[in-house]
Symmetry: C2
Subunit: 250 residues, 2 copies
DNA sequence: CGGTACTTTGACCAGGATCAATCGCCGTGG
DNA sequence: CCACGGCGATTGATCCTGGTCAAAGTACCG
C-alpha cells in the first residue's frame, strides 16, 4: 500500500511512476506524536518540514480574548509547513489532533529534492496551491453558509480528502473531533454544534457515533450543502486498474 | 518612484538591489482595465499571469443561491494568479474593482524568471505564502470576530498593505468599495454594513466620506480589533535613506 | 468512587438577516 | 430644464440563527 503522500500527489496529475519511489521515501522515517501535542509554536522559526504520515493535525490561531479558530486541517499525506523557512516566524500554531506519526524532513533535503526533481517540485507546488484553494472554500463556507450546511460541507470535504489517501471508505470515516473542536473549525459555539449535529442526524444526512461518521447517501449530503469538489483540483486516479472505484464528483 | 511590485517584494527581505531592475520591468507593459471588468472567469485555464499595476481587483466565489464571497483582494503590486498553470482550471473568478492597469505576463516568462533568478523566485514564493497567510487571517476574522471588529480589521490590513506599495498615507486611503462589496468581503449583509459603518464613525474610529477612509488614530483602531500585522510578514524597509517618502495617497 | 472531559438540553438574549420604504445622487433622454 | 430611472446608502420593523449561561447527564480514568 502506497503512503498517503504518494496517493495524494498522484492525484495532482503531474507525476510519472518514476517519481513515486522518491516520494515514498519521504514518509520512511517518522516519529510518533500523541493527541494534543503541539508540533509548531506560534512565533517559532522552524528549520524542518513536517509531514503527516498518520493521524490528524490542525493549524490554529488564538485571539487575545481566548477565542480560537482552526485555519487548517492536516490529514495523512499533508505537509504542515512546506514553506517554513521563507516566511520566517510562524503566525499560528500546529498541534496534533490524534495520535499519529510525523516525519520531520530537514529543509535542505526538501530544497535538494525540488532542485533535482522538477516534476516533484511541481507536485509540491500543486499541494500548496490546493491548500490555498481549500482556505478559500473555507472562507466561503464561513462567510456564506449557515451552521448546518457549513458542517455538512466540512464533512464532504473530509470524506473526499480522506478517500484520496485511503483513510475513508465509500460512506464514512473516523472523525476524531470533539464538538468544541468542530466549533473552532466552523466558527460555531460548542452548544450550537451539538444542535446542528442533532439536526443533521434528524434529517438522516449523517450517522455519527463513537467518533465514526457515516453518510448514508453521499449525493444527498453533497446536494444539501452545494459541495463541488472542484476546488480540491484532483485529477482522475490513473494507472493500473483505474476503475469505477471512485464515484467522486456527483 | 518604484512600482508597487518592487515596493512590495522589497519587504520580503529576500532581495538585493541587483534584483530590482528585473522586477521593475515586469510592470512595464500593462493594459488599462475598467471597473467591474472580469479578468479571469471561473473554469478558465489561463496561460498568462496577471499582475496588478494600478487599481484594485477581487477574487470571488458565487454560490448557487446567488450569494457571493470575496476571497481575495488584489492591490497594486499583487499577482492575481502566480500559480495559474499548475492547478488547471480556476475555481473562482477575478474582476477589477476599480479602473486600473494590469500587466499580463506569459507564463513562460515567469517560469524563466524563476529559473534564472533564484532570489526573485524566493520572493515570489514569499508573496504567495503571504497571500495564504492573509487567507488564514480572514478566516479567523470571519469565524471569530463580530461585525464591527471584522470591518476594522479589514481596514487595518488594507491600510498596511497599501502603505507598503505607496498607495496610502499615514492615516487613510481611497476605499473604492460599495457597501454591498464590503458585505461580500466580510460575510455581512449590506444593511448591516451600513449600520456597522455608522457605529465605527460614531465611535470616532473612522471617517469615511466620498470613498476616502481616514483613521484619526491608527493605534486606537488596531487596538479595537486586535490587529497584529505579523501575518503580513513584512521585513523592515531597508536601503538608502529609508524615510518618510511615501505619502502617495492623494 | 470522585474527577474530568464531553455532550445534551433548556432558557434567554443578541448579532445580524430580511423585508420594505425612503432618500440622495447622477446620468440620460425628452 | 426637468422628469425619470438606477444605484447606493440609510432607516425602521421584524424575525431567526446562533451565542451565552446554566445545569444535568454520560463516559472514561485513575
Amino acid at each position: 500500500m502506497p503512503t498517503p503522500l504518494t496517493l495524494k500527489l498522484s492525484r495532482s496529475g503531474l507525476l510519472t511512476d518514476a517519481d513515486l519511489p522518491v516520494i515514498e521515501s519521504l514518509s520512511a522515517q517518522s516519529r510518533p506524536v500523541e493527541a494534543g501535542q503541539v508540533l509548531i509554536h506560534e512565533g517559532e522559526h522552524p528549520d524542518t518540514v513536517h509531514l503527516m504520515v498518520e493521524g490528524f493535525a490542525h493549524r490554529y490561531k488564538i485571539l487575545p480574548e481566548g477565542r480560537r479558530q482552526i485555519v487548517g486541517l492536516m490529514l495523512p499525506g499533508d505537509f504542515c509547513d512546506l514553506q517554513a523557512t521563507i516566511l520566517g516566524s510562524r503566525d499560528h500554531s500546529i498541534a496534533a489532533l490524534t495520535a499519529g506519526n510525523v516525519a520531520e524532513l530537514p529543509q535542505r533535503l526538501v530544497d535538494d529534492l525540488i532542485l533535482s526533481h522538477s516534476r516533484i517540485a511541481r507536485a509540491l507546488w500543486w499541494a500548496t496551491l490546493v491548500e490555498e484553494s481549500i482556505l478559500r472554500a473555507w472562507l466561503t463556507n464561513l462567510g456564506q453558509r449557515e451552521g448546518d450546511r457549513r458542517m455538512a460541507h466540512l464533512f464532504c470535504e473530509m470524506l473526499v480528502r480522506l478517500q484520496v489517501v485511503g483513510r475513508a471508505g465509500e460512506n464514512g470515516f473516523v472523525l476524531p473531533f470533539s464538538q468544541v473542536q468542530l466549533g473552532d473549525l466552523l466558527g460555531l459555539s460548542n452548544v450550537h454544534v451539538s444542535r446542528v449535529l442533532q439536526d443533521l442526524r434528524g434529517q438522516g444526512l449523517i450517522v455519527l457515533k463513537d467518533r465514526r461518521l457515516e453518510v448514508p447517501s453521499v449525493p444527498r449530503l453533497k446536494t444539501f450543502c452545494d459541495f463541488d469538489p472542484g476546488y480540491l483540483h484532483l485529477s482522475p486516479r490513473r494507472g493500473a486498474g483505474s476503475d469505477a472505484r471512485d464515484h467522486a464528483s456527483r
